[in-house]
């Protein structure tokens, strides 16, 4: 899809980015010590820290990923909101205060305070680095998704711009600037999301969301001997057909342009339904709905095909309240799209066919995560696995954990967590309205679910769109900054200084941190480019699973089980990393979206949580029991 940037959008965006850079430079002058670089000197007010938590947490995954997933798959996207927020309960009730008491700069310090073990420093340092990198990928992908409609730039430019700005921010200032930048952006994101939700309610639901909304065509067809023999339109001619999975796709030609249609049976009559598709030809050319991208034949979709208000079918609702909005969608029918891949001769076709879906199915789990009709044991296991990973992942994320070291006391750590839960919880409730709003407003770009929320904002005017996109982009900047501070802390503080025993002065530590930040940033740019197009919330779900498997068993058992030994912690961290990454790399979603193959993945699970987290816990217990010191606990 091609987007034309507006000067106003570019102006607002540039002003935002410059403000962020200005703020960073201001705080850079104040950061000279390692304490200042990694933990903002431990002087941040709990209220500011709480909103900064929200700024960190409500990253690309929440605003872009969840809204996008709800726009594509309804309630299933909201499961992420529920899980992400529930994770904060673990953070608040079990982890926040003790970690604050035991650590100094990084969670490795807290983990290692009882044991003084080189092995823990190594394991936790590596785990911080890997989890941060896993979490960095979706942020960078999100940045790419944002700049496309905002500045009209290609995905990789978005990733490169974010990478460079963040490297500049982190390499100059560290945690103080990251905190204040996140505070401002977290607050603004919540305010503007509230405005966007209000705009959705005022606008209501309309079968034809805007004047030039492209309505999809239907043509009748006749089948003989299982093949389409004729069609009920003289404008098109039959040009071929492909059977893929349990569906038949028909190729038609008109004015020299080929288009693909899916077939359905309605009351005994075969109908062809217009589909959207991208064909990759043998020589590598990409055709969007049969023509080069520049011809703009690939259009935005998503609308209600039937709107029912209190039992009455209507064409539009007019302004409605939040509850009425939800109950109306529940009674209506929405045109969603299902993605499929097939080969036509020497061409590779990615096709999205119309899937009219009842509101009843949209408003409950099951469209993405099969738990009801068509569910298998594995699909249910995938669902449980995801919910487990989201619940346990939050309090194991290094960039969340380091924020506990920016406030003066444990009490402040607790209070800032509560501010975070309240603001994040409020935002997550809004994701339902923003996601469903995008679903019925004809703004969906089928190539990237991540763009749904910004494109919805664009529907309401370029000012709202520019502000929201600039804030979301700046939020990505801040989250990436936080992650890079956490990663550079792992490399420079945990590994270099503590594990390898490199003697560095205070200033030397800061310099080592900054050099690490540059390296991690460059690597993140590379990853952000290769993971283009995958839903960012899905990717974050995977990062959560890695974090939960690698770090949480170690953190919880260290705090609550006296027999935990250093060896137990080290083994559980490594087992957690290997098991979770191993399962992800051989999972069906990664096979389809990253390797772009239809081959069967060796591991049928998409989220590794259900296997990797218990495995990591069991490893910790078994190894700890085997390595008990005689006559005493490990302490």
């Amino acid at each position: 899809m091609i987007y034309t940037p507006s000067p106003l959008a570019i102006g607002i965006f540039a002003a935002f980015v410059l403000a962020v850079l200005g703020l960073s430079s201001f705080f850079a002058k104040k950061t000279t010590s390692a304490q200042g670089y990694y933990a903002a000197g431990g002087t941040i007010h709990w209220g500011v820290n709480g909103i900064a938590f929200a700024g960190d947490y409500l990253s690309a995954a929440s605003f872009l990923g969840i809204c996008g997933m709800i726009a594509f798959d309804g309630y299933d996207g909201f499961l992420y909101s529920i899980g992400y927020l529930a994770g904060w309960v673990v953070a608040l009730f079990l982890v926040a205060e003790p970690l604050k008491r035991y650590g100094k700069y990084t969670f490795t310090d807290a983990l290692n305070y009882k044991y003084n073990s080189k092995g823990i420093e190594l394991a936790a340092g590596i785990s911080t680095l890997i989890v941060s990198l896993c979490y960095l990928i979706p942020q960078m992908v999100g940045a790419g998704a944002l700049v496309k409609p905002l500045l009209g730039l290609e995905h990789h430019w978005g990733v490169i711009i974010v990478g460079c700005i963040v490297i500049y921010i982190v390499a100059t200032a560290g945690m103080t600037s990251t905190t204040y930048v996140q505070f401002i952006k977290g607050g603004l994101l919540i305010i503007f999301s509230t405005i966007l939700s209000a705009a959705i309610f005022v606008n209501g639901i309309n079968k034809k969301p805007y004047d030039n909304f492209r309505e999809l065509q239907t043509i009748s067809a006749t089948l003989s001997a299982g093949k389409v023999s004729s069609i009920g339109s003289s404008d098109y001619t039959l040009a071929g057909e492909v059977d893929s999975g349990d569906k038949k796709y028909v190729k038609l030609q008109r004015d020299g342009i080929f288009t693909w249609w899916s077939t359905i049976l309605v009351e005994g009559e075969t109908q062809l339904k217009e589909a959207l598709f991208i064909t990759t030809t043998e020589d590598g050319r990409e055709l969007y709905n049969g023509a080069p991208k520049e011809e703009q034949r690939f259009f935005q979709v998503g609308n209600a095909s039937k709107i029912v208000v209190d039992g009455q079918e209507v064409d539009k609702t007019g302004s409605i309240g939040p509850f009425k909005f939800l109950s109306t969608i529940k009674q209506s029918e929405i045109i969603r799209f299902t993605k499929t891949l097939f080969i036509d001769g020497k061409d590779k076709v990615v096709l999205w066919y119309q899937t009219p879906t009842s509101g009843i199915d949209i408003m409950r789990p099951g469209l993405k995560f099969k738990v009801d009709e068509g569910a298998t044991f594995l699909s249910k296991l995938n669902f449980v696995s995801l919910m487990l990973a989201l619940f346990m992942g939050t309090s194991a994320l290094p960039h969340v954990l380091i924020r506990y070291y920016t406030v003066p006391s444990s009490k402040d750590a607790r209070k800032s967590t509560i501010v975070a839960i309240s603001s994040i919880g409020f935002f997550y409730i809004l994701t339902v309205f923003m996601g469903l709003g995008a679903m019925v407003t004809g703004v969906i770009d089928l190539q990237s679910s991540n763009m749904s929320a910004p494109l919805l904002a664009k529907y309401f005017g370029v000012v709202l769109f520019s502000c929201i996109s600039a804030i979301a982009f700046a939020t990505v900047l801040g989250t990436v900054s936080g992650l890079i501070v956490a990663s550079s802390g792992a490399v420079a503080h945990d590994l270099l200084t503590n594990y390898f025993g490199v003697k560095l002065t205070d200033k030397g530590q800061v310099r080592a941190g900054k050099i690490s930040a540059v390296c991690v940033g460059l690597f993140a740019i590379f990853l952000g480019i290769i993971f283009k197009g995958i839903n960012v919330s899905f990717l974050v779900g995977l990062a959560f699973a890695v974090a939960a498997a690698a770090n949480l068993p170690a953190i919880l058992m260290m705090l609550f089980w006296k027999k935990t030994t250093a060896q137990g912690i080290i083994s559980s961290i490594f087992v957690g990393i290997v098991a979770s990454l191993g399962i992800i790399l051989f999972s069906p979603s990664i096979y389809l979206d990253l390797y772009k193959t239809t081959a069967t993945a060796p591991i049928p699970l998409d989220n590794p949580g259900i296997i990797a987290i218990p495995l990591s816990f069991i490893t910790l217990v078994v190894v700890s029991l085997l390595t008990q010191k005689k006559g005493a606990s490990s302490q």
Partner: protein
Amino acid sequence: MGGHGPSTDWGVDHASDYKAKLGVYMFLVYVVIYAGFILINVLTPKLMGVIIFAGLNLAIIYGFGLIVLAIVMGLIYNYFCTKKEDELNKEGAGK
């Protein structure tokens, strides 16, 4: 290097045991309710579509409820922790 002190010194917290115990109890309450959500989805998914009130189904009510409950429980936890901290740490300082 390895072990070193906390980022800022703020004295001994006499309420930490109480807070840890309260935290575990509240965590367990939330876990049960969260697990209930997962179990209904897996075992009786149709139940999630049942209308509860104002045209909203159980999926929406339970989902919103889990978010609101986390906020409410956080506030309750903070209230009791702060109360205990004020009480015990004041006594502790006087000893």
